[in-house]
């Protein structure tokens, strides 16, 4: 429950994405003596986590979870909330539509702000919500006219505080009640990142994550292309958790509408894909080292020969006269095929999903 007494420290939920803006927003309010706790929503599309661990080349570079790192720097708690199932409706039916790709940013923000106030696992105990939004920062969701929409449709109304651009907006409840001092908030606007960087420096923050584009894969053109392809191939707009994980991994090649190949690009991806061996027809090259390839769909025997030739093209035997490829079925049966690796020129560019 919200507490109305002015003397009790107020509790605020700060949406923490792992990026700089939400970190700064939380810090500004924390420094005013408010009891701030971080909330991070795991939608399944987050750039965080998984993908760093899958690809070997990324493993050495980046292991930390940025949201946890931010919480540790700020000295606040962080609740990571699994919203994979509920988030589906946001991705599939966004009331406000999509941004440049399949990113439903406006609906997403509304959902997250609402969730921070109503989610049972968060005990519904927050007096207000903090986001790192800046007017004009993002063309779809962070505009002067979308700010009140998020406040209204999330149900937060004036319990939603954006410390980085508060001075460009009417005073919110925490400001009016004196829980936070409006004079110590900011009036950032537009795409210029210099004010945020200067503020970060004044707090002594360095080594913060600066994700290009957005906080999730739905803003990524290639990823969105693969998701749209999946919907088209299945004849329905739907997905499950494994679908969206698999879209993050490997080359996706669709030679015909009724099946596609997911070809591992390196050892880490092959290991990840091998976790799905029992659910998919899959290929591995026997005579030469090569990728693990899953087949999603209903391939015919002729399709499997073509798929084997594509798998061979990505193996060490790509220039050999013939490569032997094992075709494994989920039933446990397997067949060995001798195939000629496909020439790169025969691999139609249009088969590569997501460009």
């Amino acid at each position: 429950m919200r507490n109305e007494s002015a003397n009790v420290p107020k509790r605020a939920a700060a949406l923490i994405s792992g990026g700089l803006d939400s970190m700064l927003a939380a810090k500004v309010v924390l420094d005013q003596g408010v009891d701030v706790e971080g909330v991070n929503f795991f939608t399944g599309f987050c750039v965080e986590g998984h993908t760093h661990a899958i690809r070997k080349k990324d493993r050495s570079r980046q292991k930390r979870n940025n949201a946890l790192w931010v919480a540790e720097q700020l000295g606040i708690k962080l609740h990571i909330v699994d919203v994979i199932d509920e988030y589906k409706d946001i991705v599939l039916n966004p009331k406000h539509g999509y941004g440049a790709n399949l990113n439903p940013c406006l609906d997403c923000k509304i959902f997250m702000v609402n969730k921070a106030l109503t989610e049972d696992v968060l005990d519904r105990g927050f007096d207000f919500v903090i986001t790192g939004e800046v007017i004009g920062q993002r063309p779809k969701s962070q505009r002067a006219d979308t700010m009140p929409v998020i406040a209204r449709e999330s149900g937060a109304d004036d319990r939603l505080l954006r410390p980085l651009c508060a001075l460009n907006l009417p005073p919110t409840l925490p400001e009016r009640k004196g829980w936070v001092d409006r004079d110590k908030l900011f009036g950032f606007h537009g795409r210029d990142r210099k004010p945020q960087m200067a503020l970060a420096e004044s707090f002594g923050f360095s080594d913060y994550a600066q994700p290009a584009g957005g906080c999730c894969f739905l803003t990524d053109e290639r990823y969105a292309g693969k998701l749209a392809d999946l919907w088209e191939a299945r004849g329905e707009r739907d997905y499950d958790f494994d679908d969206i994980m698999l879209l993050k991994v490997g080359r996706h090649i669709r030679p015909a509408p009724h099946y596609k190949l997911i070809v591992g690009r390196e050892e880490g991806e092959n290991n990840f894909l091998s976790g799905y061996r029992r659910r998919f027809v899959h290929l591995d090259t026997v005579s030469h080292a090569g990728p693990l390839t899953l087949i999603d769909g209903e391939p015919t025997d002729a399709d499997l020969v073509l798929a084997a030739r594509i798998a061979a093209r990505y193996s060490q035997g790509r220039t050999a006269a013939a490569v032997s490829v094992n075709v494994h079925h989920p039933s446990g049966d397997s067949t060995e095929l001798q195939v000629e690796p496909m020439l790169p020129t025969d691999l139609e560019p249009a088969w590569h999903i997501g460009g």
Partner: protein
């Protein structure tokens, strides 16, 4: 040192799911209880200790084994 009172099998889950499951499990435990977590995603080597530090829980064991990682967390 106390032995674990509850176990969580997070093998096969990718980060941040092992942390989310740990968090959900610990929410139901009492102070002093010890949770054992076993996971396979190498990301947990960083995430579980970081999560424990952030929430003030004591990490009693953090061990890399041949096929997995094992942690003992005392709820504080």
């Amino acid at each position: 040192m106390n032995g674990p009172t509850t176990r969580l099998d997070a093998r096969g889950l990718l980060c941040p799911l092992p942390v989310i499951r740990t968090q959900d499990k610990i929410r139901k435990l009492k102070i002093g209880d010890v949770l054992e977590v076993v996971a396979t995603d190498p990301g947990v080597l960083h995430d579980i200790p970081a999560w424990c530090r952030v929430h003030g829980h004591r990490l009693l064991v953090s061990e890399q084994r041949a096929d997995d990682f094992r942690f003992h967390i005392e709820v504080s």
